[in-house]
């Protein structure tokens, strides 16, 4: 059992800098959770609070209902994997891996046993007696992981663990890392700036901004059910259509944008309110206007440009309410759009969401 619970945790650096504000959440035993957010959002601070290298200014952190206030770093039983691995350069791979059982005063047999099984788990047995300087980055990564495994930590904290690897190896490691964590039944908290990595690797993803937790949910929840305008802004790419709610039902709202009215998923906003409808750029459907035929749930627009991006194409469109949006469509999409061509943009009601229009303008809510 290794539940993690944050209870109203605040961390202030110096006198004024609030790195983390009133953070409360639970990570269940065996869950793989990623923390994402813009730099300075407090994700690394959260990780350091977990590790105990810094202590909360207010609030409490619990591991399995045990408060961690007075538990020093070395006694928290956590495994920390650093971005640049922090492999001890003056020890061999084997000595690195055996460090934790050694300093915890295990017997020689136990140390050897733990080291061997950790080496096996990361497939590094053949390089056990080399010094880190003669190894490559992926092997450092494996050493760092094995070192944590041998420490018998139940909670794994990963700070940008794949950040120092090449793109290709990164993708291999995402799978490797997840499988390893699942096999060893660890609880993992993973900080990354790469949201694709977070979505691929985790059971749950926490989106943070300005020291606050915005949303904690499964990867698909974040994509399809963002509960905050910042989540839809930060995870993937979205455009925000500004309009006014003309009819509100429990799960669906009708929003007037320009002259058109579209249906969208509602988050409990009532009639007459000004809203921003978040639509992911790849969910826009662009259709040519043929014979003035009215397309269901769509807005009128004019093409600005249609640009080839490799796998995708980016189509910039000026909407009837004078907003400019960018739609991402497949490069092989059969239709090419001409400049100034009038089109209709269809919006899938289940893949869009309306949020209350922020008081100080949309930029204030998205400010990082």
């Amino acid at each position: 059992m290794s539940d993690i619970r944050f209870q109203h945790v605040t961390k202030v650096f110096g006198k004024k800098v609030e790195a983390v504000k009133d953070l409360s959440f639970i990570i269940k035993d065996g869950e793989y959770v990623s923390l994402i957010g813009p730099s300075g959002c407090g994700k690394t601070t959260t990780l350091r609070l977990l590790a105990g290298t810094i202590l909360p200014t207010e609030g409490q952190i619990f591991f399995d209902d045990k408060p961690m206030e007075d538990v020093r770093i070395q006694d928290r039983n956590i495994g920390f994997v650093f971005q640049h691995f922090a492999i001890f350069p003056h020890m061999t791979v084997r000595e690195n891996i055996g460090y934790s059982p050694t300093v915890r005063g295990k017997s020689k047999n136990e140390i050897e046993h733990q080291v061997e099984s950790a080496l096996k788990s990361v497939q590094l047995s053949d390089k056990a007696d080399l010094y880190p300087l003669s190894l490559s980055a992926p092997d450092w990564q494996k050493t760092a992981l094995a070192r944590v495994l041998a420490s018998e930590a139940r909670i794994l904290l990963l700070d940008e663990p794949l950040g120092a690897l090449d793109q290709k190896i990164r993708e291999e490691f995402q799978v490797f890392l997840r499988n390893l964590v699942k096999k060893e039944k660890l609880t993992a908290v993973h900080v990354t700036h790469d949201q694709a990595e977070a979505l691929t690797i985790s059971d749950k993803v926490a989106v943070m901004n300005k020291g606050k937790l915005i949303q904690l949910g499964s990867p698909s929840d974040l994509v399809y059910n963002p509960n905050h305008i910042f989540t839809s802004f930060f995870v993937g790419e979205s455009d925000f259509l500004i309009g006014i709610v003309v009819d509100d039902k429990q799960k669906e709202a009708e929003v007037k944008i320009g002259q058109s009215v579209i249906r969208t998923h509602n988050t409990g906003i009532s009639k007459g309110k000004r809203v921003a409808v978040a639509v992911r750029r790849e969910f826009f459907q662009i259709e040519k206007i043929i014979n003035g035929k009215q397309l269901d749930n769509s807005i009128k627009g004019t093409i600005i440009e249609d640009q080839f991006l490799g796998i995708l194409r980016r189509v910039r469109i000026l909407l009837e309410n004078q907003q400019i949006i960018e739609a991402k469509i497949h490069a092989k999409h059969p239709i090419y759009f001409e400049e100034k061509e009038p089109v209709r943009i269809r919006i899938d009601p289940t893949a869009s969401r309306c949020f209350e229009y922020p008081k100080d303008g949309i930029a204030s809510a998205l400010e990082m």
Binding site: T53, Q74, F82, A86, P89, Y99, R104
Partner: protein
Amino acid sequence: MVLGEEKPKFDFELKMRTSLLRTEKWLSKKNVLSIGKVLTVSIFVLLVLGPIFYLLLQIILSWKDIKATVFNDPILGNEAFLMMLRSIGLSLKVAAIVTVFDIIIGIPIAWILARYQFRGKNILDTLVDIPMSVPTSALGFSIYLFWGTNNGISRLFNSEVGLVSQGTLLIILAHVAFTFPYVTRSIRGIIEDLDLNLEKAARTLGAPPFTVARMISLPLVKEGLLAGIVLAFTRSLGETGATLIVSGVYQTAPVVIVSWMKGLKIPTTAFLAFILIIISLALLAFVRLFARKVGLPWRKVFPKFERKLSSKPVKYTRDGISLFLFFIIVFIPALFVIIFLFQWWGGSPFSGDPQAGMIYQVFQAPDQKITEITHALITSVEIALIVTIVNLLIATPMAFFISKMRNKKLKGFMDILIDIPLVIPSSALGFSIFFLWGSNGMHILSPGFMMIIVAHISFTYSYCVRPLIGSFDAIPTMYDEAAVAFGASKVTAFRKVTLPFLKSGILAAAIMTFTRSMSETGATIICMGVERTIPVLLVDFFESSTFPAAAFASTILILISFLLLLLLRFVTRRQKNE
């Protein structure tokens, strides 16, 4: 008309500039440059290494004579050799104990300076350096006054005599004061640069802070630490100025060299200097060649014990003890002479006799000590200035040459050679200079002003080259490559691009050299003839028991070195900011 007047001046400047550029172009020619290189290295070999190797060679060549005087003297038998053994034994014993104390005080203080943030950190930082820059004779005198007379610590116990009499213990106390900064300095920077994540990683893996420091941080600063330890050890082994004052009848090897030299027992002195040089060279070679391979028996862990050592109260006690030792062994004794000076300002604090006071002794007594002091001070400054200028001229090309060397093995070798004057006892070095240049060798110089200068150039050489190599290494090569690509000759590129970068590096090297030259005792005594520099004069005053006058001279020396130290810190800090 104004234009017409300015034109000739402009032409003259242009002419100067083109001829300068042309000279530089000529100097940049490949064979001219190689001649320059050869010249640089030969000056180094002749001035710095030459005397040492000449001495080594002579000992081997005239082994029969040595054997006759050292081992089979008609009157004394092998008494000279036995005395050598005793003095070397004492020196080694003292150096070993001193080094242990240096480690005990030096490492925690380096740690405190590198890792803690506190008010007054800069002050502590400067205080740590003071004993290194104050002339050791002044330092030794001050320490003697504090521990060994009834003016210092014994006042606390209302004792009539000093707490520690002259001898081994006092030598150790004095040596710790000026050698521990070598340990602190050698690792402080490395500790600051360590990757903190390594320590954090070790903590998360279950190691308490003490274990982390022992198993992770210290092994990573091992090389620097060993270098510092060797410097501290060799400094203690070779120190003369302070030791002359605090040793009493217990003679360390450098003191024996000085006293034999005064009695003109050249062959026996040569042999003792030879042994000291061999010991120092062996230590240097050992550290430079094997430091990396020395495994430290630090793999075993005592979890419970180390956990206790890591607890906060123990940690505070440890830091407290280190700081306490620093203040009681180093700081207060080192500066006690200033208090003593005020105690004895106008008369004896015990009897009130004005003739025992500083004012009378220095300014009013018939022997006019103030003239002696002024004269010695002027001599010291003159020597230090000349030495600094000459050393900058010969060290800058050398530093440039070493820094740009591509052959790593050769570079490493040159690096070791550069360090030689650093580890050899200065009295032995001074003797080897006397031996080569004086009447026993080439007979070009006799002891006196010039010979002091040559001796000082040779032992301050390393102090000058080291920081310069550092500065050269820190300059990105792209700048002068760019200058050459734009058509500047190599020498022009050096003058216009590299030198401006070096300004504060050169200044730092100059101050270091000046300070070292000002404070040297051992080499000076050997080479001085009838000249007196101020550290030597201090020893004379001490030996004639005119303590207040000696205190006056010491205080002047301490103030001068303190000012130089502040200047150095100012310069190096600016260098860092650049």
